[in-house]
């Protein structure tokens, strides 16, 4: 078994050596130290002393690649791990050559597909460059095809985007015209309205005066009624009928137990008499009644509000109840809302009163009023159509200001949403709008962010999008989403993660991203295939 393996190894060695020979014949192979690229080979001359690339030192050539680091720039040890920051070059014939850090040389891990980095660990690595090369080429071809297909779609997207933009621009032009027209109409309508309103106002003057008079009469009647009530009350409380109410007389009545301690103190009673000991009926009506009346009303149950802030245990209970309610399930909240609505409906409508003379307009006046109303309506219509138009203009302007890519290729995504479902949530990306998370259980969706901006670096601005100011996390920041955009044959979210609490990362494929930058180009550095 062992011998067989050995044989294979020798065969393999011979094959690879002959390959080397062939490539030496075909190419321009010069002898070079292990781990050195072709382009740097001339810097290593076995017949001469070696000078570090940074010129810091000159050493005998025998100390190149002797597994001791002499040059601070690591240039003397391209093929060993002796220098900390050195670079090892693997030829990787059959695949693409590679520069790896010197720390990866002879560490027991096969980093180069030709195994050249692990020369001290014989038998450790299998040269799989040919296989890798094959699959890399296949992969590259697939990628190329994908890119090709993607580019076509991107072209469509772009055309669509440009077209949309053009349409929007045209629409904007039209809207601008319409807006001007609407403004003109508005001015016209305003003039008509003002005229009609002036006529109406003149006609209504007579009724206004009438109304004033009515109000005056009403007020007088109210005052009289109030005074009569006051006098009645005065009579009631003036028990000894001496024409004066003494505070002691008020003390008989629980009505005046302000602090509800079951006892009307002198202080409490005097409060109602403006701190006087007693009061005649005149003063009672003018000074005291305003204070007394609310307490009588409370007693009679006609008045429910607290007269002034008083310590009230029931109020506290309520607060506690409220807290508990707040903690309860949302459904209950909804229920109570429904209840509140129902209650509103139950409130009885005010009974129809007799129409007062001030509202009994004559026919002429009514006509003028109708005309004015109509003019007002027309003016309002004109105004709202302007608002509507302005809104439309704003929307279009916003659209036109949006950066949909150098060729408008991302515009095609605008107005669409894309979904991704993992085992717990469905995620939604609505490009240029927002990102969303919805539990599969069907409960409320959570906004993970609103469209903010392109986030990529200057040279590749369109590689990621930022959606921020989403719903705030419990005890944490506002949610946000970074959408990483890459080339794909159709629009698709391929993964969603939350690497930091409340910071989401979506991976999104779209043909719109199938440009040179995103396609990672061809295999540059294929100089030694």
């Amino acid at each position: 078994m062992y011998n067989y393996e050995k044989l294979i190894r020798i065969l393999y060695l011979i094959t690879s050596l002959s390959l080397l020979v062939i490539s030496e014949i075909c190419g321009s192979e010069v002898p070079r130290p292990h781990g050195v690229s072709l382009s740097r080979a001339p810097l290593y001359r076995p017949d001469k002393n070696f000078t570090c690339f940074d010129n810091s030192k000159t050493i005998p050539y025998s100390q190149v690649n002797d597994d001791f680091c002499d040059c601070p720039d690591a240039s003397d040890e391209p093929g060993t791990s002796a220098c900390a920051e050195g670079i090892f070059y693997c030829v990787n014939a059959g695949y693409r050559p590679m520069n790896i850090g010197s720390d990866r040389v002879n560490d027991g891990i096969c980093d180069c597909c030709d195994g050249s980095d692990e020369y001290a660990n014989t038998n450790k690595c299998i040269n799989n460059c040919v296989e890798l090369g094959r699959s890399a080429r296949e992969e590259a071809m697939q990628k190329e095809e994908l890119l090709k297909a993607g580019r076509q779609l991107r072209e469509q997207f772009s055309q669509e985007g440009i077209q949309r933009k053009q349409q929007k621009k045209e629409k904007l032009l039209e809207l601008t015209k319409n807006l001007e027209e609407a403004k003109r109409v508005k001015a016209e309508k305003e003039k008509l309205k003002n005229e009609a309103e002036e006529l109406e106002s003149n006609a209504l003057d007579y009724y206004r005066k009438l109304e004033e008079e009515e109000n005056n009469q009403k007020a007088q009647a109210e005052a009289l009624k109030n005074k009569n009530e006051a006098l009645l009350a005065f009579d009631r409380y003036d028990e000894n009928k001496d024409g004066k109410i003494a505070f002691s007389e008020l003390q008989q009545y629980q009505t005046f137990d302000k602090d509800k301690n079951g006892e009307v103190s002198e202080e409490e009673a005097k409060y109602f008499l403006n701190d006087l000991d007693e009061m005649d009926s005149e003063n009672f009506c003018t000074v005291a009644w305003d204070r007394v009346k609310p307490y009588i009303m409370i007693e009679e149950g006609k008045f429910k509000g607290t007269v002034e802030p008083t310590y009230d245990e029931t109020a506290e209970d309520d607060a506690e109840n409220n807290e508990e309610h707040a903690d309860e399930e949302k459904e209950e909240e909804e229920e109570s809302e429904a209840e509140a609505e129902a209650q509103e409906e139950e409130i009885p409508a005010t009974p129809e009163e007799e129409v007062p003379p001030s509202k009994q307009y004559d026919q002429e006046t009514r006509k003028l009023m109708d005309a004015a109303n109509e003019a007002r309506n027309e003016f309002a219509d004109a105004e709202s159509s302007i608002k509507e138009l302005e809104g439309e203009v704003r929307n279009i302007q916003k659209y036109l200001d949006e950066d949909f890519g150098p060729d408008e290729e991302y515009a095609a995504l605008h107005g669409h949403c894309f979904e991704y479902t993992d085992y717990e949530y469905t995620y939604k990306l609505c490009p240029f709008d927002r990102t969303i998370q919805q539990p599969k259980s069907g409960s409320m969706e959570t906004r993970l962010g609103s469209w903010s901006k392109w986030l990529g670096p200057d040279h590749n601005k369109y590689e990621s999008m930022l959606y921020e100011h989403g719903q705030a996390c419990w005890n944490g920041p506002e949610r946000s989403t970074v959408v990483k955009v890459a080339c794909g044959s159709d629009n698709k979210i391929t993964s969603v993660t939350e690497p930091n609490k409340c910071e989401y990362v979506f991976e999104f494929l779209t043909p719109a991203a199938c440009s040179e930058v995103h396609g990672e180009g061809g295999d540059k550095g294929h100089d030694e295939l």
Binding site: A84, D103, P499, K501
Partner: protein
């Protein structure tokens, strides 16, 4: 269910707002009946009398009767001489109504006894001798004095606070009233704390003992506390006694005597002439009052000043435990080194860990998927930052059910492991003791079916709340449960994967979210009918013993790795320890050194603090400083809370990345040193990291220094724990004749005490001690496992005699083959301009490692070359050159297996 969660939630919410411990959740001494009772004992003549007429003498011990004269209760007292200069003092009731709890499984086997001679014997006094140690037992008042040679170094019951509350039956109400002379504490038979009731069926059973240390300047020990290394006087200014009760303290504060996750009841009283230790073997809740004469009140110091009396310094320690017996070990020193060795002789050492466990560990709550784990490692590689071990916190499980994997996020653990091991990386996952009470969960069902759980006082299965919600707690004190649980670790073994999943044990105080003080009620019942109160502090160590044994059973050829939060004396035999859930602030960085130094003195060397701070987001300067300091603690792991931003070091700006990379590489370069020191710890029992007083016991200036650590005796590290530092006040010990070489530029300084050293953001002050030889592996690699064949660079730091010595330990880094003599233990020595290497033991290991470079610090001038001589090389000339003050010998190229001599010419 909903409600409880809400409460837990609001608990956390509250804490996040205040960002500090909720002190109310934890008892003060006054809130605990036994602490109140025992702390109220008045110093003075002891009510205990030794009946020395009735003395039983054996070859190793004397036994006599101890009598509580007030309550007329009899106890027996045994004093035993132990090998290695120790005494053991044991006291228990002669005929208790139930047995009192004796701690099991903590000592590293039964201590070896030593011959003891009785020098004097009468009714008042008995003097015994063992080696140059003497003990004097005094009858009335009861006292035991300990002498090293002729120096009195410790007095047990020096202040008369010795007390064993004998077990009794509860008096009926009326009886109690009649017998008003003996007023019992209100909480003696039951007590409440917050909403929790403790039924205390056995009533009072406390144990109290004081030790007076004449001449002592400082006292150290009693981890785990987030406090200074030197213990302070308690009681003064309301400072609570040091509390030892393993607790899950949420957002703990620093500079506090509050209990934390671990409890190691050992103290070391130290003066410049003598050091003596005391180990109080008791697993129940324990409080310790400390009194240092330097903190005596102003009046008495004035009196001394006026009277001109040079008051001798001294320290007193008063141990107060809720239950158990008196089992006290006096470690006779006389130097810190001796005490440390004596203590590890009793409780054991950390077995040599696998090499990679000394390298960098990357943790976070949580890496969320298998891809996440792979990506993080890839990023480390892309940024050329080394990392050895990836960690998974609780979210990897299927719904917090340990020994399961999340079926979606971690569906292919074997594949993930394979990926990790393909670049030499390893994995540690968390396993906690609480068991989710969920139908269908094998562990819960088997535990229920076989009656494996801890019971309530009424005999029902105890149910508490932890990460999974409703949980129960296996009774690991039951040998059947112990073996059953041990077997579970085979579930985490994967065929065809050349890597073992190692284990992180958390929440093993045990943590119970809705329990009293966030732990298990004291009246819960364990195997043998013991209440939880009797053994609370060893629940954690028993759990880690299971893990260690389980891993060993799973793969007998690989050294297990276990990290634990809860710990006790002896935990070093099973697990490394970290300082729990610290915070991303400068104070917690500062606390990391004294906390781990304290653990190291108490036998637990493999200690570290979460780099960066667990809670909250560290500012970049803090994070850099934390890496710079963290690489010099034995256990080196970054960890972060789930609510923090990601902070893997490659995520930062280039300058920060570069500094952290430099720190990581410095750690990796010194792994041979760490590994050697860990080997020597196992072999000789000395701590891996040491405070200055340990190596410089005669220097009174260093007794309070705890912002510096020594790695073994050869590397001195000064912690920078404030922002914007431009200088550091580094204490360089040893006097003028001791040299310290700054490892940045190899500049030599003398050990003249406090020295101002300039610093910038790039590094913290680190020095090699003159006279030491430190072996490094300077070639950066992705992981330590990939460095095994790399060559060594020897740093020879010369002392004032132009000589130096050092050791290097080498083996296969992972197996137990070293127990079969398959290792190399090298002695390097430099003197008379010659560096030589020789084997200390007659052993061999087939190492291919070689010597790449020798760097001589403080080297002689005008060296033109060096000549190496060895068996296979013969004599070969070596190039040399100077870099600053250092002389570099180029490429000796000799294999470490071979003895050699290099001569400077």
């Amino acid at each position: 269910m909903h409600l409880v969660w809400r409460n837990i939630f609001s608990f956390f919410l509250f804490c996040h707002i205040c960002l500090a411990v909720v002190k109310d959740n934890f008892k003060e001494c006054e809130q605990s009946s036994f602490c109140r009772r025992l702390r109220n004992l008045k110093p003075g003549d002891s009510k205990y009398v030794l009946n020395l007429n009735n003395l039983h003498v054996s070859e190793n011990s004397v036994e006599t009767e101890l009598w509580n004269s007030e309550e007329n209760v009899k106890f027996k007292l045994v004093l035993t001489a132990l090998a290695g200069d120790m005494f053991r003092v044991y006291a228990d009731e002669v005929s208790p109504i139930y047995p009192r709890y004796r701690v099991q499984g903590v000592l590293n086997g039964e201590p070896q006894v030593e011959r003891l001679d009785v020098l004097k014997r009468d009714k008042d006094e008995v003097i015994v001798q063992s080696g140059d140690n003497k003990a004097v037992l005094k009858s009335e008042p009861f006292k035991i004095e300990f002498y090293k040679a002729s120096n009195l170094v410790a007095v047990v019951n020096g202040r008369g606070l010795f007390d064993i509350e004998h077990l009794r039956t509860k008096k009926s109400e009326t009886e109690g009233e009649e017998n008003s002379l003996q007023k019992e504490d209100a909480g003696a038979w039951e007590e409440n704390f917050k909403s929790h009731h403790d039924s205390k069926p056995r009533g009072p059973e406390g144990v109290s003992l004081d030790i007076h240390f004449p001449g002592a300047l400082r006292i150290y020990g009693l981890p785990e506390h987030a406090d200074k290394l030197a213990l302070r006087t308690t009681g003064l200014g309301g400072v609570e006694p040091y509390r030892l009760y393993n607790l899950d303290v949420f957002e703990y504060i620093v500079d506090s005597t509050m209990a934390l996750y671990g409890a190691v009841p050992v103290v070391f009283a130290h003066s410049t002439t003598n050091t003596v230790g005391a180990f109080w073997l008791n697993a129940a809740e324990t409080w310790v009052d400390i009194k240092n004469s330097k903190d005596q009140n102003v009046v008495s110091s004035l009196v001394n000043l006026v009277s001109g009396q040079a008051s001798e310094s001294s320290v007193d320690a008063h141990f107060m435990s809720e239950s158990g017996v008196v089992d006290l070990f006096i470690l006779m020193g006389p130097k810190p080194k001796d005490c440390a060795k004596q203590y590890t002789k009793l409780t054991g050492v950390a077995p040599l860990p696998q090499y990679y466990t000394l390298a960098y560990h990357q943790c976070r709550w949580n890496y969320i998927t298998e891809d996440d784990v792979t990506t993080v490692v890839k990023n480390f590689d892309d940024y050329n930052m080394p990392v050895d071990t990836m960690w998974l916190d609780i979210e990897y499980t299927d719904g917090k059910k340990y020994f399961t994997w999340d079926p979606i996020k971690f569906a292919h653990p074997d594949q993930m492991l394979k990926n990790l091991s393909s670049t030499g990386r390893n994995l540690v996952v968390i396993i906690d003791p609480h068991v989710k009470r969920e139908g269908g969960y094998f562990l819960h069902e088997e535990a229920l079916a076989n009656d494996y759980y801890v019971k309530t006082k009424d005999g029902n299965v105890y149910e508490g709340w932890c990460w999974p919600g409703s949980s129960s707690y296996p009774d690991f004190f039951n040998p059947t449960v112990f073996n059953y649980y041990k077997g579970l670790y085979s579930k985490l073994k994967y065929e065809n994967v050349d890597s073992d999943v190692m284990i992180w044990n958390d929440m093993n105080e045990p943590s119970v979210f809705n329990g009293p003080e966030i732990t298990m009620p004291k009246d819960c019942l364990h195997y043998g009918g013991w209440e939880h109160r009797h053994l609370h502090n060893i629940y954690g160590i028993v759990y880690t013993a299971i893990t260690y044994e389980g891993l060993l059973a799973r793969n007998p050829n690989k050294r297990p790795f276990v990290l634990t939060r809860a710990h006790f004396a002896g935990s070093q035999r099973f697990a490394a320890v970290w300082t729990g859930d610290n915070n991303a602030d400068w104070k917690h960085l500062a606390a990391s050194f004294p906390m781990c130094l304290s653990e190291a003195l108490a036998g637990i060397s493999f200690c570290g603090a979460d780099v960066g701070g667990f809670f909250n987001n560290p500012e970049p300067e803090l994070l850099q400083r934390w890496y710079q300091a963290g690489i010099w603690l034995p256990f080196f792991r970054a960890h972060a809370h789930i609510d923090t931003r990601r902070r893997e070091p490659y995520l930062f700006a280039e300058d920060i990345r570069n500094r952290i990379r430099t720190s990581l590489r410095l750690r990796y370069a010194h792994l041979p040193l760490w590994y050697t020191v860990f080997y020597e710890h196992e072999r000789f029992g000395e701590p891996v990291i040491r405070p200055l007083f340990y190596e410089y016991p005669n220097d009174s200036e260093v007794i309070d220094i705890d912002n510096q650590v020594l790695v073994a005796d050869s590397v001195l590290v000064h912690l920078i724990s404030e922002p914007g530092a431009t200088t550091a006040n580094v204490y360089l010990p040893g006097g003028r004749s001791t040299y310290w070489y700054d490892i940045r530029d190899f500049r030599k300084r003398e050990g003249n005490g406090f020295t101002s050293v300039p610093v910038n953001l790039d590094s913290i002050p680190v020095f090699y001690k003159g006279g030491s030889i430190i072996s490094r592996k300077n070639r950066p690699r992705r992981a330590s496992t990939l460095m095994h064949k790399d060559p060594y660079s020897l740093y020879v730091a010369l002392d004032n005699n132009k000589s130096a010595k050092g050791t290097l330990y080498i083996d296969d880094n992972e197996s137990f083959e070293y127990k079969k003599q398959k290792y190399l233990y090298l002695q390097f020595e430099f003197k008379n301009n010659e560096l030589s290497s020789s084997l200390i033991d007659n052993t061999d290991y087939e190492s291919v490692e070689w010597i790449e470079r020798v760097v001589i610090l403080g080297a002689p001038t005008e060296v033109s070359k060096a000549v190496i001589t060895s068996k296979t090389l013969g004599s070969v000339d070596l190039e040399t050159h100077y870099e600053g003050d250092a002389l570099i010998i180029r490429k000796p190229g000799v294999c470490v297996r071979e003895a050699f001599v290099i001569k400077l010419v």
